[in-house]
């Protein structure tokens, strides 16, 4: 495995830890934490896609413009990719909405069933 692939592999390990928590844990709160870990792993994966070793922040200053007024190739070749950063910003906000929804549901579930144990929250069957 080349050294560039290690962070990707690690992000997948985090993803698997999250999935393990979702599958193996019976506590509603732990399942929610599992979803959040999986969410972070996906965000990490996305931001790694745009990462460049030793790259600079993708902020264009006057010095980065070439003679025709466009962005110089020198800047394009040294900065990190800003698109995945924009994507995960959106994805984090969506993750927050889902987290709020999950926590609200967990509270209502606790009100009704008096437990966070998913094995005892079983009215639906068939």
């Amino acid at each position: 495995m080349s050294s560039g692939a290690i962070p990707f592999a690690l992000s997948m390990v985090v993803l698997l830890i999250g999935l393990y928590a979702i599958i193996a844990k019976a506590n509603v709160v732990k399942i929610i934490i599992g979803i959040l870990i999986t969410d972070y792993a996906v965000n990490l994966f996305l931001v790694l896609l745009g990462y460049r070793h030793g790259g600079r922040a993708p902020i264009v200053t006057k010095a980065d413009l070439d003679t025709s007024g466009g962005v110089s190739m020198g800047f394009v070749n040294t900065s990190v990719d800003p698109v995945p950063q924009a994507l995960i910003l959106t994805s984090i906000v969506i993750g927050l909405a889902v987290a709020a929804m999950m926590v609200a549901l967990a509270l209502r579930l606790h009100d009704k069933y008096g437990t966070f144990d998913i094995t005892r929250i079983r009215r639906l069957k068939g």
Partner: protein
């Protein structure tokens, strides 16, 4: 014409945020219902207006062109899906007027419903991969809320299950999108397709395809990803069950999957085999689970899995024909896609109709257990009539619409040489018929239990909601040739263009 395109998202989105502001008073809630109904009609008008031209339309949001901007793209498939969604949404909205009277905070219900419609329409019209994910989440999150709307034990449990599995599906879709972005450096579907079309299969694409199949498979509730559907769909209020089973699993599952498999990545042999297997499996497992059910809405939920199997099976075999390994016979693939998409349209009509009539029965008789009902034909004639049309359509009895789409799928499967799958499809159709004969016999015929002697017909708005869809079911059969000409063949054609054709149609180089 292009300029009305953003309205399919903007109108319901605006209404979704406006209706909570109208207040919790009786008057505010009626205003919210009226607003939602108006948007429902406007949506239908817009999706009909899009049929005035057969040209593909592209709208660049904020007039930012590619590769920076986000596009909305309309072709035959988009037109079909938009029409289906707005028809079912309108029927569900009309039905809601009377049905939702027993709930409190109906202003919030209309708000969530409008957000769900906005999300679905967004998924259907968007031409950008990440935008697809965002709209998918808008539709999904509002549907989690709607499933839990009753806030009783069962609803909350079903919603939590649905939320967990739905989020996992969404995350895998996002991973797949990330991989495609890394491969191509683009998010615009046409540009991604353009960039991918030149190269052969590679391992990164296989991984992305696996993530997409799992993610969209979860959204579409294909076996073995189906566990949430029989809990979530029956727990929602009846109009929402109709929307979820009728259109949400199609827009965010089958449509998005077909679009990515055919138009973005190009059908490969591996995609096609997995789709065919999942389709056949869903078709058979779904119907077996349904046969033993005595809860009306749960039975309908299992049949949704089974009927989605037909659609995915037809699309999967079409992908097989079009894959590099297949015969490349476009007429045959077109016939399969015609069958699959016609069944998609029909299923939206009859399954929503059945869910609405189950809601009407539940509202009036106070139960949805088949064994506790009986003789409803005399007590609720309009509901019974609509329920019977829906049941005959889903069971594939001529001359209703379900018969024609199943016939086309079976014939096309046989033409493709898939005799076993064709026989399986016929067998599942028979099982469906058996299951719905049971429903007919126990609910509509027989003795009325004493407890239900005073049951009366549902209010007029609920009847009208059901009658809208019953009309579609009744007319869909005889008008099949006409429908094929302007609605279904253009939709199949847009999948038949493969990735290269899609890229050529919507590539920004040919655009504004």
């Amino acid at each position: 014409m292009t300029n009305i395109l953003p309205l399919v998202v903007a109108l319901p989105l605006g209404a979704g945020f406006l209706s909570p502001l109208l207040g919790k008073s009786r008057r505010g809630e009626s205003m919210a219902a009226l607003l939602a109904l108006g948007i429902g009609f406007a949506n239908l008008a817009i999706s009909v207006a899009l049929f005035t031209t057969t040209e593909p339309l592209v709208y660049w949001i904020g007039f930012w062109n590619a590769p920076v901007g986000i596009s909305m793209a309309v072709d035959g498939l988009t037109r079909l899906l938009l029409l289906t969604t707005s028809l079912v949404a309108l029927a569900a909205l009309v039905f809601s007027i009377a049905y939702m009277r027993r709930f409190t905070a109906t202003g919030l219900y209309y708000s969530l419903l409008m957000l769900m419609v906005a999300g679905m329409n967004g998924v259907i019209v968007t031409g950008d991969l990440f935008n697809l994910y965002v709209f998918l989440e808008v539709a999904s999150i509002s549907s989690y809320g709607l499933v839990a709307f009753g806030t009783e034990h069962e609803e909350l449990e079903a919603s939590f299950k649905y939320l967990i599995l739905g989020s996992i599906g969404s995350l895998f879709i996002l991973l797949g999108i990330g991989i495609l972005y890394n491969l191509t450096g683009q998010l615009n579907m046409a540009l991604v397709a353009d960039s991918l079309a030149g190269r052969g299969a590679n391992r990164a694409m296989t991984l992305a395809a696996a993530f997409f199949l799992m993610g969209f498979g979860l959204k579409a509730a294909l076996v073995p990803f189906h566990a949430w559907l029989p809990d979530a769909h029956p727990s929602a209020p009846a109009p929402i069950s109709a929307m979820l089973s009728g259109v949400l699993i199609k827009a965010s599952g089958v449509y998005a999957l077909a679009r990515i498999v055919f138009n973005v990545m190009g059908p490969s042999a591996a995609h096609a085999d997995v789709l065919t297997a999942l389709g056949a499996l869903s078709m058979v497992v779904g119907v077996f689970l349904a046969v033993g059910q005595w809860d009306f809405k749960r039975l309908l939920g299992y049949h949704s899995i089974s009927q989605m199997g037909y659609i995915v099976l037809a699309i999967g075999v079409a992908a097989q024909v079009m894959s590099p390994r297949g015969s490349g016979d476009e007429a045959l693939a077109g016939l399969l896609l015609f069958g699959g998409l016609f069944h998609l349209f029909n299923h939206a009509a009859f399954k929503s109709l059945l869910f609405l009539s189950s809601g009407s029965l539940e509202q009036q008789a106070g139960t949805r257990m088949l064994k506790e009902l009986g003789g409803m034909r005399r007590r609720m004639p309009v509901t019974a009539f609509c329920c019977r049309i829906g049941a005959l359509s889903i069971a594939g009895v001529p001359p209703f619409n379900g018969f024609f789409s199943k016939l086309v799928i079976v014939v096309a499967l046989a033409l493709a040489g898939k005799w076993l799958l064709a026989a399986l499809a016929v067998f599942v159709a028979m099982m469906t018929l058996v299951s719905f004969l049971k429903v007919q016999r126990t609910v509509l015929e027989g003795e009325t239990p004493e407890r239900l002697a005073g049951v009366r017909e549902a209010p007029y708005p609920m009847q009208s909601g059901m009658l809208i869809l019953a009309t579609v079911c009744l007319l869909g059969g005889p008008l099949v040739v006409w429908l094929r000409g302007w609605l279904l063949d253009p939709a199949a054609a847009s999948l038949l263009t493969r990735a290269a054709g899609y890229a050529a149609l919507f590539s920004p180089r040919g655009g504004p």
